[in-house]
C-alpha cells in the first residue's frame, strides 16, 4: 500500500467546514443506543472547544430510517427535512450539523434534488407552508458531526490525556475505520476524503496516534439495510454482511473499530455477539470481541472522559481490554451503576464471547 497515493486523493476531497455557530440535530438511533456519544459531542464542542452549538427541542427525526424502509413517501421525508431547515432559519443559523449519517445523506440528496428540480422544491415549500406555516431556509453549510470532530482533531490531540497507543508495547493501536455508506457513497465530493478512501475518521486516527487498518472489505456496508434489519425475518442479511467484514479484517488483528454512523457501531457490536453465540467464533484476543466505538467515544477517551460517562457499558462487546491498552483508568464496580451511584442489577453475560 502506498500511503502517498491516498494522501493525493484526500487532498482532492477537502470540504469547507465553518468554524463556529452550528444548528445541531440529533439522531434517533444514536440517542437510543449511544446517548453518551451525543452528550460527549456537545460537551467537547461547547465546553472544550468553546463553540456555539444550538439545539431546539422542536426538532424531530428527519424520517430517514422510515423513508428508507418505504414507510414514508419521498415528499413526506422532504417536507420533514424542510421543517428542520426552517427551524434552523428561524433561530438565525446558517450552518446545519447532524448527528446521523442517514440524515446527512438525505439532507445532501434533498438539496441536490431541489437544485436539479426546482419545481420539486416549490412543491415542498408549499407542503411546508400548508402543514406547518413555516418558511424554508436552506442551510449555507451542511456537515456531519464527524466532520466537526475531524476539523478539530488536532486541537483534541493537543489536549489529549491518552493516545491511541498500546501502552504495553508502545506501538500504535491498530484501528479499523468504518464509514457509514450514506456519508459519501452517493455524493463523494460532500465527504472529507471522498467515497473510496474517506479521510474523516482516518484523519482522527492519524492525529490521535493510531494506525489505520485497510482491509479488503473496508468499503462494504455493515449490513443495516433498513428493512433488512428492522424486519426480524430479514436479519440474516444484516448479520451476514457484518460477518463478511469481520472475516476480512480478522487477519489484521485490529485493536478497535471506529465508526461515524448511527447503526454501524450497534450492528458491528451486536452481530459479533450473535455470531459468537451461534457459531462460537470471536474476533478479538482471548475470547473477547473487537470493541466498536463511535468517534465521539474515542475522542472522549482521548480527552480523558470516564468510560462509563461515555456510555461504554451499553456496548455488548467488552471495551476493557482496549481501555487497558490505552491506559485509561476505570472503576470496574461503577460500570453498571445508575445515576448518583445507584446500584443496579448487573447484566447477564453471554456464553461464547467474553465480557466484563
Amino acid at each position: 500500500m502506498i500511503f502517498q497515493g491516498k494522501q493525493k486523493i484526500w487532498s482532492d476531497y477537502q470540504k469547507e467546514i465553518p468554524d463556529d455557530h452550528w444548528f445541531y440535530v440529533r439522531s434517533c438511533i444514536r440517542q437510543g443506543f449511544f446517548p453518551g456519544s451525543e452528550v460527549a459531542f456537545l460537551d467537547i464542542c461547547r465546553n472544550k472547544l468553546g463553540k456555539d452549538f444550538f439545539e431546539t427541542e422542536h426538532h424531530t427525526t428527519c424520517g430517514g430510517i422510515a423513508y428508507h424502509a418505504e414507510a414514508l413517501p419521498q415528499e413526506t421525508m422532504m417536507t420533514i427535512i424542510a421543517r428542520q431547515f426552517a427551524l434552523m432559519g428561524e433561530h438565525g443559523y446558517k450552518n446545519y450539523v447532524c448527528s446521523c449519517i442517514t440524515s446527512f445523506g438525505l439532507y445532501t440528496e434533498v438539496l441536490e434534488d431541489w437544485r436539479t428540480f426546482p419545481d420539486l422544491e416549490d412543491k415542498i415549500r408549499e407542503h411546508l407552508w400548508k402543514s406547518c406555516r413555516r418558511e424554508l431556509t436552506k442551510p449555507e453549510y451542511l456537515a456531519h458531526a464527524s466532520d466537526i470532530i475531524y476539523k478539530f482533531r488536532n486541537e483534541i490531540a493537543a489536549k489529549a490525556k491518552h493516545r491511541l497507543v498500546n501502552k504495553f508495547t508502545g506501538e500504535p493501536l491498530r484501528v479499523v475505520e468504518h464509514i457509514g455508506c450514506h456519508y459519501s457513497k452517493m455524493f463523494p465530493s460532500k465527504g472529507v476524503g471522498g467515497a473510496e478512501y474517506p479521510y474523516v475518521l482516518a484523519g482522527m486516527i492519524d492525529s490521535w496516534g493510531g494506525e489505520v487498518i485497510d482491509y479488503p472489505e473496508r468499503r462494504h456496508c455493515c449490513g443495516f439495510g433498513f428493512r433488512q434489519y428492522l424486519v426480524k425475518a430479514n436479519r440474516g442479511y444484516s448479520m451476514s454482511n457484518t460477518h463478511k467484514k469481520f472475516e476480512s479484517m480478522e487477519p489484521y488483528k485490529p485493536d478497535m473499530i471506529i465508526t461515524n454512523c448511527p447503526g454501524c457501531p450497534y450492528f458491528m457490536d451486536r452481530w459479533q455477539y450473535v455470531i459468537a453465540e451461534q457459531t462460537g467464533k470471536t474476533y478479538g484476543e482471548n475470547g473477547y470481541g473487537i470493541p466498536v466505538f463511535t468517534y465521539e467515544e474515542v475522542a472522549g477517551l482521548v480527552l480523558g472522559y470516564d468510560p462509563w460517562d461515555l456510555g461504554l457499558q451499553m456496548h455488548q462487546v467488552a471495551v476493557e481490554p482496549l481501555l487497558d491498552k490505552m491506559g485509561v483508568k476505570y472503576n470496574k464496580k461503577d460500570k453498571y451503576k445508575g445515576s448518583g451511584g445507584k446500584i443496579l442489577k448487573i447484566p447477564e453475560f453471554p456464553m461464547n464471547i467474553k465480557c466484563c
Binding site: M1, Q4, G5, K8, I9, A195, D214, Y215, P216, R219
Partner: protein, 337 residues
C-alpha cells in the same frame, strides 16, 4: 510556390504527414513537446494484431527526415492569423509563418488514478497498459514479481461518464489481449483473466488474436466491469466484478492487475483551440468539418487534423489519416493558387 506547413505533434500522425507534405513539395515544420519524436508509440513495445515491433515501425517513420524541420521539447506559445497566414511562436523563441497548420496532437493517456476504486498509485501491484509496455521494453518494474494470477481490466476511463470519458478508446481490447498473451509467454504458469464489457475485435486479424488468446494461451474471459480492488494482508489484490454471464458476483485474488487506460482528449486541446478557433466536441476531441467525408478538415481555413486528435484511432488509421491530411493540404494550396 513552396509553402510552410506547421505540424503540431511528433507522433506517428505528425511524422507521417511531415514526410508526405515534403514529398508534395512543401516545407513541413514539426514541433514536439517531448524530447523525442514518436509520441505514445515510442513508449510501446509491440503492436497488435500480430506483435509487430514498435521499433521497426518507428525506424520506418524516422528513416527519411531530410527536408523536415523539427523541434523537440517545444510547445506552442501563440498562434495568430494574418490574412491567409498563421504566425506561430514557439516556446524556444522561434516564430514561423505557416500557410497551413496540421493538428496531430494525438491523445492523452487516461490518468488511471482517477478510477479511485482500482487503486492505481495506492496498491502495490496495480499497473497500467503503458507501464506494462515499459516493462516489456526494459524488463524492469518492481510491481511485477513472478505473478501467478494476472488480471486485465478493459475500459479503464473509457465508456465511463463518471470519469468524463464517454467514448470507447478502440484500441484497448486488442491491446489487452496482445499483452495478456505476452504475459503468458513470460509467465506460462500464470492464470490470466480479462474483464471486459464487450470485446471490440473489429479489425482484420483481431478475431484471430482473440481466438489465439483463448485457444493457444488459455486466457480466461469474464464479462463484467471490475467494481472494486483492494489489498489483502499478504499484499495481494482482491478483485471484485460480476460475472454477468453467470449472473453472480465473482471474487479473484491476484498478483498483478493491469488497467487498460484509455485515450482521453489531449490535455492541451482547449488551449490550442482557443488560439485558432477550431471546434472542440463535447467529448473534448477536435471536431472536423464532418465525421465521414471531411474528417481531416477543420472549420477554420487552412487548419487540418490527423490521427487521434479527432478521436481514438489505431496506428494504420492514424497513418492513413496523416496521408489524407497531407493530400488535403496540398489540394488546399492548389485551390488557393
Amino acid at each position: 510556390m513552396k509553402r510552410n506547413v506547421l505540424i503540431i505533434g511528433g507522433g506517428p500522425a505528425g511524422m507521417e504527414a511531415a514526410r508526405r507534405i515534403r514529398d508534395y513539395g512543401h516545407t513541413p515544420i514539426l514541433i514536439e513537446k517531448e524530447s523525442r519524436l514518436g509520441g505514445h508509440l515510442a513508449k510501446w513495445h509491440k503492436l497488435f494484431p500480430e506483435g509487430e515491433s514498435t521499433e521497426e515501425l518507428l525506424t520506418s517513420l524516422t528513416a527519411d527526415m531530410e527536408g523536415i524541420n523539427y523541434f523537440t521539447d517545444t510547445n506552442i506559445v501563440s498562434i495568430n492569423k494574418l490574412k491567409n497566414l498563421y504566425v506561430a511562436i514557439f516556446s524556444n523563441g522561434i516564430s514561423v509563418q505557416a500557410d497551413a497548420i496540421l493538428f496531430a496532437t494525438g491523445f492523452s493517456m487516461f490518468p488511471a488514478e482517477k478510477k479511485e476504486e482500482y487503486g492505481y498509485g495506492i496498491y502495490n501491484h496495480v499497473i497500467t497498459n503503458a507501464d506494462l509496455e515499459h516493462f516489456f521494453n526494459t524488463g524492469k518494474d518492481p510491481r511485477i514479481k513472478e505473478p501467478k494470477v494476472i488480471g486485465f481490466v478493459h475500459c479503464v476511463g473509457s465508456r465511463d461518464e463518471k470519469a468524463g470519458n464517454r467514448q470507447c478508446s478502440k484500441v484497448c481490447c486488442a491491446t489487452a489481449l496482445k499483452q495478456a498473451c505476452e504475459m503468458k509467454e513470460l509467465y506460462p504458469d500464470a492464470t490470466i483473466y480479462c474483464f471486459y464489457m464487450d470485446l471490440r475485435m473489429f479489425g482484420r486479424k483481431y478475431e484471430d488474436l482473440y481466438l489465439n488468446a483463448q485457444r493457444k494461451y488459455g486466457i480466461l474471459f469474464v464479462r463484467g466491469r471490475v467494481s472494486e480492488v483492494s489489498e489483502d494482508i499478504d499484499g495481494r489484490l482482491v478483485v471484485k466484478a460480476e460475472d454477468t454471464l453467470v449472473g453472480k458476483p465473482i471474487r479473484i485474488t491476484m498478483d498483478l492487475l493491469v488497467l487498460m487506460a484509455g485515450m482521453s482528449p489531449c490535455v492541451e486541446n482547449p488551449k490550442i483551440a482557443s488560439m485558432t478557433g477550431v471546434h472542440i466536441g463535447e467529448d473534448g476531441f477536435f471536431m472536423p468539418r464532418d465525421l465521414l467525408y471531411r474528417s481531416v478538415e477543420s472549420h477554420s481555413k487552412g487548419i487540418f487534423f490527423a490521427g487521434a486528435a479527432t478521436g481514438p484511432k489505431t496506428i494504420p488509421e492514424t497513418l492513413n489519416e496523416a496521408r489524407a491530411a497531407a493530400m488535403a493540404i496540398d489540394h488546399y494550396f492548389k485551390q488557393k493558387a
